[in-house]
Each structure stands twice: as structure tokens, then as C-alpha cells.
Amino acid sequence: MTALITRRTLLKMAAYAGGFAIGCLFTAPGRGQSTPTGGRMNAWVLIGADDAITVRVAHTEMGQGIHTLAVNLVAEELEVDPGKVQIEPAPVAPEYETLGFKQIITGGSSSAATSFDSLRLAGASARALLVAAAAKRWHCAARDCEALDGRIRNRTTGAILSYGAVAGAAAKLTPPRKVNLKPASAWRLLGRPMRRLEGRDKVQGIARFGIDVQLPNMLIATVINCPVPGGRVRTVHPDAAMRVPGIVKVLPLDTAVVVVANSFWAALQALEALKVDWDEGPGASLDSAGISRGLDKALAADGIVAKEQGDAATPEVKTRIALRFEVPLLAHAAFEPPTATVSIGHQHNVDVWAPTQVQTKAREVVAAALGTTPQQVRIHTTLAGGSFGRKLRVDYLRQAALTAKAVSQPVKLIWSRSEDMQHDYYRPPAATTIDVGLGSNGLPVSWTQRLAVPDLRPHIDEFKGSTKGADLIDSFAVEGAAQLPYQVGHHHLTWHNAALSLPLGW
């Protein structure tokens, strides 16, 4: 029997990847460097001589509150007010990789779980260094000092040192090999409602999203992707578009055409004037009715047993209910459309600002598009105006990078709303029939379900190789259906792969 995993145990990618990141906390580049302005305690915590506390956060804030949680995790152990902490999006580096994923990723509802220990350890380790530095200054034992609200108090003399006063010295000390974390009973921040740290910026309209990035000398681009997924550009007729005031360039890419102008409005006007012949490919005949028929056909065919529990003959069924449900392709429809800003500087050093959920992958795709090394690309993660999984994909980043290269100027690519709705990595469509048997008390006693949904794994790089052998069943396809919330005497689920050649995703 295949062990079923759920989307939330994307963590199990760890099983493929291996490794445990906590050790990296103490070997961050730049650690040990202290300056008159303070010092870096570890990969996550920087303390300024002016007592400014900066916490690096690797996860993308898209509304789920992970910036707030991350800072509170550190602050709980560091003994500081989370409201006074500055957040700095982490750069792409091994020590910031999401635990178990071998990359930086915000997805699969994994952020809190993967940060819970490591960020508390980062806070505790930093606190221990600061206390040790203070103890050294006072020629006393560390146990005679206590950290409280950004300061260290000498229990014997009552003397006080601010974190900033010892940060430079603390950064030069050897980090402790082992730190103790507070028991939950001692928490003052965790386990309680938290104020969203960027909440005030958001109500004032000063929170900066990807679409808000502005650079000197920056052009604006927008895009039309081949109306049929899988199709390609055949010929572009740019003449009318090139007559639109403000137009800079029409750039055909393989499956899309980008229009660059000095404003979004000019780019959009030019896009509307553009004539493109598309090689639509075999997808051109696919429509909603066809997708529906494909689901029906899969349902009618034999499926793979994904769950078999209990004995079909045992439950005494009084009433039977036959149900059928179907859901269409769904676009994630994040309010902020795909957007990325790319600036190519001297010696091919590249800066990218984007609301991406996958920083490591973003860096790789931009480097590949530009022919640079990933190390030459810096990803600056912005707030995301929603994402819901859409920005786990990097298509728009590649387009933005190629565009910036083509015009030799910084470019902000903004997809229009209609492009975003039409060209998602859609959440897959599904059809299901469920026969529920109710017992004499009206509660379900048997549950027989046929579920037609595409195998998602061929659509996700990390899972492309996992569709054979023991992993016959796509656990993503049967997530939720295999783990029934009802206790029934008999549960039978078959999965019917309704393969679909459209861009699909979580």
C-alpha cells in the first residue's frame, strides 16, 4: 500500500533532498564581522550599535502573516519587542533554504512548520552571544546576567547594557553549540494573537508590493502569451504597435510577445495594436466541454484504488445517496498580477525584484535566461499582493529578464489582468461521483468515491520523476479524498487520471 502524502507534507520533498538546515545558522557568511555599527549574530539576526534589530526572513509574505510569525519566533527567544524589529528579505543562500526543500520556497503551508525551531534557535543563539559579551564586559558569569526587552541586566550589580552596546563584541564570540529554548509555558509572544507587523503600512498604502517597484530609467513592459497554451509565436507584425507614442520595443519570445514602453498604458495600447500570427498547436481544439468530457471518460474507465478501508459487506445501509460534483480549471487570480522588475548592471550583475514564492528557482531561471551564473543574480523579495500558489512558477521572471536584456535598461514587467486570468498554471479540474450509504441513525456508514483529476506530478519539476513504481498514485490528486473526515465502516476511493495538456499547478 502506498503511503499517501498530503500537500501539506510537501515537506516530504525532504525525503528526496535530505539534509537539516539548523547547523547552518551558526556558519552564516559575514558572521563574526563586527563594525562600529553593531554586528551580525547569525544568518538571521543583525543588531546595530544603535540597538536597531534586523531579522532576515526567507519566506514570502503574501497575506498569510509569515513575516509577523518569523519575527515573533526570533523575538520570543531574543527577548525583544517584535514591533521594533526591521524585516529584511533574505538573499538566496544555503542557510536560508526552507528546511528540507534545498531551496527557498514558500508553499505547501510549510512556512510555520519549517521555521518554528530554526528561527527560535536563531533568536536564542543571538541572545546567548549578547549575554556572553555583556558578562565578559562585566567580568561576571553569563548566568548572572539576564536578557530582557533588548537589554542585559547584571543580576548582581543591577547594571544594564543595551544589546547595541555589546553587539559588536558579541559578533566576535564563538556561537554556543547548544542553546536551550523556552518551554511553551514561558512564552510571552507565541501562542497568542499577534499584530501584523506590516499592517500599518498596508492601511496607509505605503507597503511595497512587486508592482510598486520603481527604478531610475525604468521602462514598463507587458505581455501577450499565445492564447492557446502550448502554442508558439509564428510571425509578429509590429508596425501598428511601433506607432503608439511611448513605445520602445516589441520583443517576440518563443511563446509570447512582450511590448516595452515608457508607461504601462503605452505598453498596453501598443499590445492592443499588435498583430501576431500564432502557431496554436494541438491545444487549439480544447475547450471546456472537451475538458468535461475527458473527466467523464476517465471516471467511466477503471481507476487505481487509492483507499480501501473496512468491509463493503459490513455496514448496514438504510439509504443511499448518489452525488456528482465537478470543478472547472481555476485561476489563482491573485490581485497583484505576475510582475517582476529586472535591472542588469555592471559585469552582468543582475537585480530582480519580485513577489516570488520561489527565490532559489527565480535566481536560477533568471541566470539561465541571461547566461549568467546564479551567483550574479540577486533576488529581492517584495510583499506579494496575494499569490495562492501562482508565484510558485517563474514564467514571468524569465520574460522580465529577457526583456531587460533586450532593451539594456531596467524593466518592470506587469501582466495585465486578462493575461493573468487566461494564462495561469491552473488548479486542475476534477469530477467525482460519491455513493454514500447512510445507516439507520442517518450518519454515513459507507463511502464509495470515484475521483477523476489529472496527475499533477508531470506539471511540477520536483515531482516529474516520481510517477512510476511505488508512487503510482498522485497523492496531490487524492488529497482530502483519501483522508475522509467521517468515520465510516467502509471507505473505497479510486483515482482516475484525467491527463490534461494544460499548464497546471497547486
Binding site: 506590516e198 498604502g205 497583484e336 499582493g385
Partner: protein
Amino acid sequence: MNLSVNGIVHSIVSAPDTPLLWVLREELSLTGTKYGCGIGVCGVCTVHLDGTAAQSCAIPVAQAEGAMVTTIEGLSGSGTLHPVQQAWLDAAVSQCGYCQPGMIMATAALLKDNPRLTEEKFAAAMPVHCRCGTYLRVMRAFRALVSR
């Protein structure tokens, strides 16, 4: 062309048919007003024209000439929060926050017109969509505002 935004008159170089939204965002760097649908449907680009809520993505800038445009950046004095912003913050409405400037501007205009607005009328009149689904907290913030 001159445009009055948040009490300051700007000389505008954008083409007259450019939607007000993009003049605010790209020419005046007032990026608090957000792009959502571009066709005057979703409401996230809501600003005030002479105190009335308007969807800035669907108004050519030439049409706004002569009006007093107010954006989220100009809703209250610098550093302070407008009562609607404070209520939003207190009720922890924001999730991703992208639609919040539009929501707050729309609510401020609705309550200015009718401080005794009922919950039902507010819900029906709210022209701004929220993809995160914060509506229950929006109502919590609204109730706090009208019960003061």
C-alpha cells in the same frame, strides 16, 4: 495639463487618455493606489474625486483635471491615521493588503456621505473586491466605525 492630487497641483505630461491610475502610480509615484482589473470592475484602484469614490483605472486623466483627487497617501495628515484606517488596523482586516487602499478609500467616501449607513447598505455599496476574503473583518471594522 494640471492635476490636483492630495492638495498639490502637478503639471502632468502623460497623454490625456491615460487612466488616472497610471498617472498616479507611474508619473507621480503614488503607488498606494493599486491596479486590479483595469476596467473599472474590481475597485482596488478607488480614489476620491472631489470627495466621491471613483475607480481611477477607468477615468482618463483629462477627466480628472479640475477635480480634487485624493489618494490613500492623502487620506489623512502625515503620520496620522484616518478613522477608517485606524478601524481597519484595529480589526486586523489586512491580509495581503493589496485591495486595502481601495477598500479604505471606498469606505471613507461612503461614511462621509452617510455616517449613519447601515451594515446592509454598506455591504451592498462596497465596490471593492478582496481576493483574500477579508469581508468578515471588513464588517467588524465597519461596525466599530459606525458605533463610535
